[in-house]
Symmetry: C2
Subunit: 191 residues, 2 copies
């Protein structure tokens, strides 16, 4: 298995359904890097089209991986070392496979699959263990990934839901990423 995550800041939706670019959130990088490293994902691509925002993400990475943050919390250096800052998803595909998009399996975890077929977590877990291509799971900031990214995916994993009906389903991207990794790669309790 080769697995990477992408935190997508463009193209994503805002709350009115328009396609926008969102700003970098410091705790997204920390939490998703720590979850990635805990479950064995090799990279966390931070995808942002704006150079100044990429520079911010690089500064956060440097502070923790080689700067004074590393001396204060060495564990955090191990996690943030998985960050790779890129301008576009195409750049992430190219970093994962010399064949680019065709060489990578793109997965999404869309709450809204817009009528397209979805794959259960159990089937996704089995597929991840068997596939020969590297897998890249996309996570959208803002109000979620733009429809063209969901349509282009090779696997759209079913929405995360509670067993009971609670009338609410609005997890943060940090929580959704953690749960997705645990469902795909977590230890399964024998009871």
């Amino acid at each position: 298995m080769r697995l990477a995550l992408a935190l997508v800041h463009y193209p994503v939706l805002d709350r009115s359904g328009e396609t926008v670019t969102t700003a970098i959130t410091n705790l997204d990088l920390h939490d998703m890097a720590r979850s990635a490293r805990t479950y064995g994902a090799e990279q966390l691509f931070v995808v942002h089209p704006v150079a100044a925002q990429r520079a911010l993400a690089e500064r956060i990475r440097e502070h923790w991986v080689v700067g004074s943050g590393k001396r204060r919390i060495p564990d955090r250096a191990v996690a943030l070392d998985v960050l790779t800052v890129v301008a576009s998803l195409e750049e992430a595909y190219g970093a994962m496979s010399s064949a680019g998009r065709e060489g990578v399996e793109i997965w999404t975890t869309a709450a809204a699959s817009r009528g397209l077929p979805v794959t259960s977590y159990a089937a996704s877990r089995a597929r991840l263990a068997q596939t020969s291509r590297p897998v890249l799971i996309l996570f959208g900031t803002g109000w979620g990934l733009a429809p063209e990214l969901i349509a282009d995916a090779d696997v759209r994993i079913e929405p995360i839901r509670a067993a009971a009906s609670t009338g609410y389903n609005h997890l943060s991207v940090r929580a959704a990423c953690a749960i997705t990794l645990d469902r795909l790669l977590g230890e399964q309790s024998a009871g």
Copy 2:
């Protein structure tokens, strides 16, 4: 089932193992409230002994539940409505049961159980569905709950782990809370 969560800022450990009081982190309140509401926990107690820090947590709650935040993102009001700010765990126990501590099952999710017996997630899930007492799950900020809280718990859930050995296990409290709720109350995929 009656379930509540507690985000504990004292007594918790710092990285050298000393007992300290940590500061409120805004995104802890948002992420854990959203996860609580998604999985059906009734309350998220924010436990802080310092009045000024409790006032900060109350201001965050007010902004989102009745203030301008509610007009901008109505979904967030539904989540942050689960926040209850208290000075001590004893105050949380009293809010859950007229019998106080004895009327409540206290659970922890300790990475370090310090040699005390632990309960698997599967067994914890079954117990949560059956117990007649309300359950309060404690989450520690900083470097985790102080040993006396772990020793006092009725259930210490086994550590969250990946199925494979990754050599790293340092999830954020936001991620650990999300995964714990999903393992206890998430939909179980049929494959």
